[in-house]
């Protein structure tokens, strides 16, 4: 018995010692880092140039830590419970709105980001962030239908795939078992509402009810509800039609030219991802420097070459080649932009309602 007691005592004291050590180490290292300027970046995966961070560090002497999140929901859930130490983040427009309302963002000091002047005028104001007090646009794009042109031609002949009816409505029977919906509930519901002739952001009970019934009725034609991997399913040939973002489709279309993209005539979802500074950020000056650096024409253009999304940066666009600027997947036509809408952050109650609708559809 004495053996066990000593063993236990020593384990406890070991724990105590290690706790002391654990408390001292970060303090000591924090002191060592005090002279060094740091920045913690939290961004979507595959959403930066291959050398951007390196050259940023070289240009400014700021060391960066770069973490990734899979979607806006993850970002929001992470920051809502208290900022774990991130300085700059890159939410999408409706999440920017949600974060402003939840008081999770620090206002930008425009005088410290002179490169904001490079942005096209339409990105200098936004409904979701009046006067762009909190956010600086990084890239923008649309949500539509990615599809395999050969498979669509085999079914529709020369007729264009131009309606959400083919993914949600009665026409989905023509592509039975070859459709992937998106798991992003606001995208799935918003585009469905567009098909039914409502606003993407409609909160009308009857419209939502009608959509739910439509989704349940046509679910049998749908192969799966894809997370962020609709483009992979298209590439693997599992599906012929997938609700997806233009950039995702752009990336696989370079591998498989038969894969292309359309925003249906009813209009799709427009989106903008913007750099913001998270509340509780320790390195606010560095965060401004970073945002300013990203908006430098050369830097922004280099990133665009890598990620293939649409630049909001007029001066960076001037550095891009004609193929990029004329690409219909990247830059939608003015008509498409006119009928499409930005997703609005509606309310916590509506987020719950959207999730409930999709849960009911899936369980039906």
């Amino acid at each position: 018995m004495p053996l066990t007691t000593t063993a236990r005592a020593s384990r406890r004291s070991f724990l105590k010692h290690s706790l002391t050590v654990a408390a001292v180490v970060p303090l000591a290292s924090r002191m060592a880092w005090a002279a060094e300027r740091k920045l913690n970046i939290y961004n979507f995966d595959t959403y930066i140039g291959p050398t951007t961070l390196e050259s940023f560090s070289k240009a400014t002497g700021i060391t960066t830590r770069y973490d990734l999140y899979a979607d806006n929901a993850e970002l929001f859930a992470r920051l809502r419970e208290g900022n774990p130490g991130y300085d700059v983040i890159c939410p999408t427009n409706d999440t920017v709105e949600r974060m402003i309302l939840a008081d999770l963002l620090v206002p930008l000091d425009h005088s410290k980001i002179p490169n904001l002047a490079n942005l096209e005028p339409r990105f200098m104001d936004a409904a979701y962030d009046k006067g762009r007090k909190y956010s600086a646009t990084y890239f923008w794009g649309t949500l539509g239908i990615g599809y395999r042109s050969d498979a669509v031609k085999a079914v529709l002949g020369e007729a264009p795939l131009d309606s959400w009816q083919y993914v949600y409505g009665a026409d989905s029977a023509k592509f039975a078992g070859k459709i992937a919906w998106a798991s992003d509930v606001s995208a799935l519901i918003g585009c469905g509402l567009k098909m039914l002739g409502h606003s993407l952001n409609s909160t009308d009970e009857a419209a939502l009810k009608q959509l739910e019934e439509t989704l349940i009725a046509n679910k049998k034609n749908v192969r799966t509800i894809a997370g962020d991997n609709g483009q992979e399913l298209l590439l693997a040939g599992e599906v012929d039609l997938a609700i997806d973002f233009n950039g995702d489709i752009k990336q696989v279309s370079t591998e498989e030219p038969k894969i292309t993209y359309v925003v249906p005539k009813e209009g799709g979802q427009l989106w903008e991802d913007s750099w913001c500074i998270a509340k509780g950020a320790a390195n606010i000056a560095e965060a401004h420097e970073f945002i300013n650096y990203i908006l430098t024409p050369e830097v922004h253009a280099d990133i665009a070459k890598e990620v293939g999304y649409a630049l909001p940066n007029a001066k960076a666009k001037a550095l891009m080649d004609a193929a990029y600027l004329a690409d219909p997947i990247i830059f939608p036509s003015d008509e498409v932009v006119k009928v499409s809408e930005y997703a609005k952050y509606l309310s916590e109650e509506m987020s719950q309602k959207y999730t409930d609708i999709i849960t009911r559809v899936r369980a039906a």
Binding site: E74, R223, A236, E238, Q352, T355, A363
Partner: protein, 226 residues
């Protein structure tokens, strides 16, 4: 909830049916082969679950030879024109879960079978019982605790699976894990998400309590008999 239960039960059952012969082969193999065979069982654990699930996706995807073989058989047997595919449906979820959880079932069975006193089997066979009878009336009862343990450690993770149904499932494959994720991440409804998680914890406790109650009863019965 019902769907998760059903999928997890089916997974456990299939694992048991596959794992028992595997464990038998390993346990009754020549001693020099045993470490190698065990290694083969454990080897997949060295790779991350996500990577293995993605691998399954390409191995069973509709353009893979395996899937095309299955398609040919399916079409000629049922006469149907369309093949539902091996993945992106409930079948995919089951295949994925069985594949991932098989070692959990094999290992306890192997341990029990290895420790099993072979003289019981010899006695049974010598006394004229058939191979089947020896298996079902001697071997299975003697390894029952391991079967129960294996079923429990297969069932519990399968019940709360998240990655497998998300990657290999179809439109209906909404398991409780995904439901929790949706509530926490998308609806931002942490209370409901937490409540659902607690449900999983309760289910686990319930199963463990049941197991300990059963084993206690068994112990008491053998005590009485002795």
């Amino acid at each position: 909830m019902g769907y998760s239960l059903w999928i997890a039960l089916l997974t456990t059952l299939i694992c048991l049916v596959i794992a028992y012969p595997v464990a038998l082969v390993v346990a009754f193999a020549a001693p020099k082969w045993r470490p190698l065979l065990l290694l083969l069982v454990i080897l997949p654990f060295w790779t991350n679950l996500l990577v293995r699930t993605y691998a399954l996706k390409s191995v069973l995807g509709s353009s893979s030879p395996l899937s095309q073989l299955a398609e040919g058989i399916y079409k000629s047997v049922t006469g149907s024109e369309t093949f539902p595919g091996l993945i992106l449906n409930d079948l995919g979820v089951i295949i994925g879960l069985v594949y991932v959880h098989l070692p959990f079932m094999v290992l306890p069975l192997y341990t029990a079978l290895e420790k099993l006193d072979r003289s019981y089997l010899e006695a049974s066979l010598d006394l004229g019982a058939s191979q089947w009878r020896t298996f079902f009336q001697v071997m299975v009862p003697l390894t029952l605790p391991a079967i129960i343990a294996g079923c429990i450690i297969t069932f519990i993770p399968a019940f709360g699976a998240l990655v497998t149904p998300a990657l290999l499932g179809g439109t209906d494959s909404l398991m409780i894990g995904s439901l929790i994720e949706d509530q926490i991440k998308r609806a931002n409804n942490w209370p409901l998400g937490s409540a659902l998680s607690m449900l999983l914890v309760y289910a686990t406790f319930l199963i463990l309590a049941l197991q300990s109650w059963l084993s206690e009863r068994r112990a008491r019965r053998t005590e009485l008999r002795a």
